[in-house]
Amino acid sequence: MSQSPENKKGQVETTGHVWDGDLREYNNPLPRWWLWGFYGTIIFAVVYWILYPAWPYADTYTKGVSTVSFQSPVLDKAGKPVKGPDGNVEMETKTEHWNSRALFYQEMQSSPSALAQKEWLAKVKGMSFEQIAANPDTLNFANSAGHALFGDHCAACHGTGGQGVLAMNAEASYPNLTDNAWIHGGDYAKIVQDMTNGIQGNMPAFGALFQGEKLTDLAQYVLSLSHQPGVNDEAANRGKASFATCAGCHGANGTGNQMIGAPNLTDKIWDFVDVSGAPNIDAKLKLVEGVIDHGLQHKMPKFSDRLTPEQIRLLAVYVRQLGGT
């Protein structure tokens, strides 16, 4: 190598240090570009300290001169977002020293994927539910957006896949959204209305009215509506008369009333008590008797203060697709 001292002077340069008379230390100096590279890293570090948060001192740290700007909602004195005349939350530009949380906000607002989402939101805004569902691309968007929203706002009660909960206690059960029965109605407008305003489900307790044999007969009749195996026809016939009390809500044939959220009793779907899973007719009777005896109170909160109308629309499309038709 032309650069090595061997070629230049015929011998390797030493540092000049000599021990024990003949022990020397070779000096093989670094190339100049390497040294420059080293100085470069020092300059880089200094520039970094000036730009970004770096040095801790006392209970804080140097903030650096680099900044990040993002949109932030205007808050009133109580810390609540201020709404403008058009009903939307007012936004202001906020500038902070460089930090990853601010970068995250910025990214959520102006990254290519955030902009793409905005574009899609604008696209589905003017479309009807049927139009959204008829186009594979908009349906895909509604389903992905809906799935994310569902996980955040609905899954706590209705389960991650919308499968609901069937609990021992009927009042701790939550309806299954993946079947094809809708207690409160399954058209898009109704779903949106229920999500916006919430649902108050109320079946009074009939324990005072029906007791003992009468209660069992009524339960036998209710189970006969969906042709459950093991139903005693005689008892069911006896219970039919009592059903007149129920017909006000569940209809004379027991087909239910979506307007007031009275479930259809003639289909095979049981959303609050696990009749389908009960091992025998006695267990089924017990479940139905329990509901008649104690009534059923159900409440779904309103989501109008948590979700925007646009988000509720997307959720409605998603939920509508879960069970098919």
Binding site: M1, S2, Q3, P5, E13, T14, T15, G16, H17, V18, W19, D20, G21, N27, P29, L30, P31, R32, W33, W34, L35, P112, A133, A134, P136, D137, L139, N140, N143, S144, G159, T160, G161, G162, Q163, N176, T178, D179, N180, A181, N264, D267, K268, I269, S276, Q321, L322, G323, G324, T325
Partner: protein, 473 residues
């Protein structure tokens, strides 16, 4: 003397680089290098501008599109899921390098490496502006007068322009070249484009203009590991010391040593110590010192020596491609040695696999997954429904219209979420569908394997089959 001697001069912190000013030379290897250079430059600089018609995607023949995650190579489109082809290509390149290096030494370094190519061009620029070796060395020693400032400045300016265009061309492979060109010079291109071009401009300028052979000697790992692949039969650029040194060493031409006969009778070797081989060397070494790390095997010293030998009328090849064994015994190396055959087979195998991989790229990817939350749902009529997530990625340049059927489930009813009857996948796009499969409850069975069949209406793609399971309870 047992104490430390501090009287000597303090050692320097760094070793300054001595600029190397190789003399230009003509010859076989120089011509070969020039041809390779012209070819490589033509491909590299022109390729991004070649247009190519596509149904979907950019109309650029070669484009590595990061935002859409696709590599466009003429009619071949590499999707992320076919990325293993890139690994295959790299393995092939590595084995090819081993194969060639085992046979003819560092041919890659000498003729094909971009460091060599760009240094070569930068040296040509120096040659045009500052003159040949002697003039350049004189200029180097000169004080900084207007002539030196002008010549050096002009050189660096031209270098910078070449370096910039190199950086820009590289960037153009990752974006639509003409549009990038417009955006770049109107200041509206993406910051990544400016950054990439800027970094490459600087690195090209530094590596090819100033660092040069230092890149090969200090930075490049290939230099080190290629040397490991040499054996005694590898063809290397070598100085035939037996012939050149004789028994009495090399001697310049002088009275009584003018002809081969005179020299041989005096025991003097054929080398006339003209040092032309050292003067032309781009890394500044003396090939007569034998095999060394700094030799990039460019063959220019062969051209130099051959020129001198031809002038004298002596046989050529005092410096030539020869194996170590040949220099010792005169035996020509056999190319069919174990190592060459092994690397050759590996290279051929890798090529075959790569070609096979490219030819059998699947026209579409699809997956069907049973949704497990919930596994099954009882419907109002007592039947059972299972839901599935179907993902189809159409990699073709034409739209696909697929029909979905289910086999292995009696009384099955299939519905596509959103009430579609067929699955339409636009060219080069991915679509997700929610599939509902409903069947009457069968007693005694809790789970059954079912087969989904996708039939293409256009007949472009053969029937695709995927398996999943159906849960009754």
């Amino acid at each position: 003397m047992s104490s430390v001697n501090l009287t000597e001069q303090e050692p320097e912190l760094y070793q300054a680089r001595d600029p190397i000013h190789p003399k230009s030379i003509k010859g076989r290897f120089r011509t070969f290098k020039t041809v390779v250079l012209a070819l490589a430059y033509a491909i590299f600089f022109l390729l991004p501008w070649v247009r190519w018609e596509r149904v979907v995607g950019p109309n650029q023949a070669v484009m590595f599109d990061i935002p859409t995650r696709r590599y466009y190579l003429f009619d071949l489109i590499i999707h992320p899921q076919d990325m293993f082809l890139l690994a295959g290509f790299l393995i092939l390149a590595a084995w090819l390098l081993f194969f060639v290096t085992g046979m003819v030494g560092r041919a890659f370094c000498g003729y094909f490496c971009f460091q060599t190519l760009w240094t070569d061009v930068f040296m040509k620029v120096e040659h045009w502006i500052q003159g040949d070796r002697n003039k350049r060395m004189k200029l180097e020693k000169q004080v900084w007068n207007p002539e030196k400032i002008l010549k050096k400045g002009l050189t660096v300016l031209v270098w910078t322009l070449i370096a910039f265009w190199t950086g820009f061309t590289f960037t153009a492979y990752w974006a639509d070249a003409p549009r990038l060109f417009m955006a770049f010079f109107t200041g509206t291109a993406a910051s990544a484009a400016y950054m990439t071009t800027g970094i490459l401009t600087v690195t090209t300028l530094v590596a090819a203009g100033f660092a040069r052979e230092q890149v090969c000697i200090y930075m490049c790992p290939y230099a080190r590991f290629q040397a490991v692949m040499f054996d005694k039969e590898t063809l290397l650029v070598s100085y035939d010391a037996l012939r050149g040194e004789g028994s009495a060493g090399r001697k310049p031409l002088q009275k009584g040593l003018m002809t081969l006969e005179e020299r041989h009778s005096a025991g003097t070797g054929d080398c006339i110590d003209c040092t032309l081989c050292v003067q032309v060397c781009p890394t500044g070494i003396d090939i007569r010192d034998g095999l060394q790390l700094a030799c990039i095997s460019c063959g220019l010293c062969i051209d130099a020596c051959d020129e001198i030998m031809t002038k004298r009328g002596w046989p050529k090849g005092l410096i030539r491609y020869a194996s170590e064994k040949e220099l010792e015994t005169g035996e020509k190396p056999s190319l069919l040695k174990f190592r060459t055959i092994g690397y050759g087979i590996a290279t051929a195998l890798a090529s075959a696999l790569l070609i096979y991989g490219v030819l059998t790229i699947k026209p579409l990817d699809f997956s069907i997954q049973q949704i497990r939350q919930p596994l099954f749902v009882l419907m109002s009529d007592g039947s059972v429904q299972n839901n599935y997530e179907l993902k189809i990625n159409n990699k073709e340049q034409s739209a696909l219209e697929l029909e979905l059927t289910v086999e292995g489930l009696t009384g099955a009813h299939v519905a596509i979420g959103g009430d579609f009857t067929t699955l339409v996948i636009p060219p080069d796009e991915t679509r997700n569908y929610l599939i509902h499969v409903r069947a009457p409850r069968t007693s005694g069975i809790s789970r059954q394997l079912i087969t989904f069949k996708l039939t293409d209406k256009t007949g472009l793609v053969p029937v695709i089959v995927g398996q999943s399971s159906f849960n009754f309870k």
